[in-house]
Symmetry: C2
Subunit: 204 residues, 2 copies
């Protein structure tokens, strides 16, 4: 008899600050607790647009934005992660999201996601730059040229758009979001541990 | 030599769901960690209005609202607290806030705040009802008639309005918010423990 390993789906947006915190630790957390992990890049932009927001709520609501950056400083210090405020914020993570979506079952997807977030929030680099992304892919031994071409294909563009629609079906309105197989939704880096406990509660 | 006890200021809105979670535990947490506590009722309404919001963001953004209620269910279950969705939501906590503001240094203020939140979110009662508030005050041995009259005075009305302005000066944009004496702002029930650690770090 094979034991079924419970699974978490990690929904993230490359422009999202708190997604950085979760992306850097979720693969380790999942492995340590015996959980499978689905990497689910998506785009908050279309969801925000439909709410009438033209940019991140952290830009629209300055007090919330100032708080978020201070909160991120404290949390990154605690996690031992560097933090640079990217300019502009939020960054355009569309190409990175298409690459991650197309390769979401590749062995190197976690390493790629972490490398993009580290370039963005750890080093303040421009993650919309295909040359930057190509460099990160090459570092991982991936075929950078093929990945970038694939990311520009109609199939991948439609696929990522479908992922956004799927996120909304799941009730997702922000990032990071973590969803268990039975549909429990957890929003925010603060809820990762609760999501893990919920996922484990099903099998034990 | 008298050791100075560090202090937390607890800023809450009686209509706020997550303020309920913090209100029910903060006095115990503060006492256990040797911290003084300032009860700071305020009103999110005017702050939300200036952001262009006519009601709670949990009503304006339905996906966020649905998530919040599910999140509250999970958190209340874990905390052993009852949860009833008040109708309407948010409740009008203006009179309760005026009473709590006017008596924020009274020995019974913590018990009053907890009683209001429990009536609202534990029992689904209407906290805008002066008779309900009078009953809670009498249970605490307070002079209910005098408290209600004082809450209707111009001094208290102006005082609570000044508290809202002070909250904004501190960078507060939501509730609950916890502020340390050196001005560190923590937003949300999830951050209470971090606020405690920050406050203690100053003296040790």
């Amino acid at each position: 008899m094979t034991l079924q390993r419970p699974k978490l789906s990690f929904w993230f947006d490359f422009g999202s600050t708190y997604s950085y915190l979760t992306a850097m630790r979720i693969e380790t957390v999942a492995r340590d607790r015996g959980l499978d992990l689905d990497w689910r890049p998506f785009l908050l932009g279309p969801i925000f647009n439909r709410q009438g927001w033209s940019t991140s709520p952290f830009n629209l609501y300055p007090a919330k934005g100032r708080y978020m950056w201070r909160d991120m400083e404290r949390l990154c210090e605690e996690a031992g992660l560097p933090l640079v405020q990217p300019d502009p914020f939020p960054q355009n993570g569309l190409i990175a999201a298409r690459i991650a979506h197309a390769n979401r079952r590749a062995e190197w997807v976690g390493a790629f996601v972490r490398a993009v977030f580290m370039a963005e929030f750890g080093e303040g680099r421009d993650i919309s730059d295909p040359a930057l992304l190509a460099g990160l892919l090459l570092d991982l031994g991936a075929d950078a040229r093929a990945c970038l071409a694939e990311a520009d294909s109609i199939e991948v563009k439609i696929g990522l758009r479908a992922a956004v629609a799927e996120a909304e079906t799941l009730g997702i309105f922000g990032a990071p979001s973590i969803v268990t197989e039975d549909g429990e939704l957890y929003w925010g880096n603060d809820r990762l541990e609760d999501a893990v406990e919920w996922a484990l509660r099903i099998v034990t």
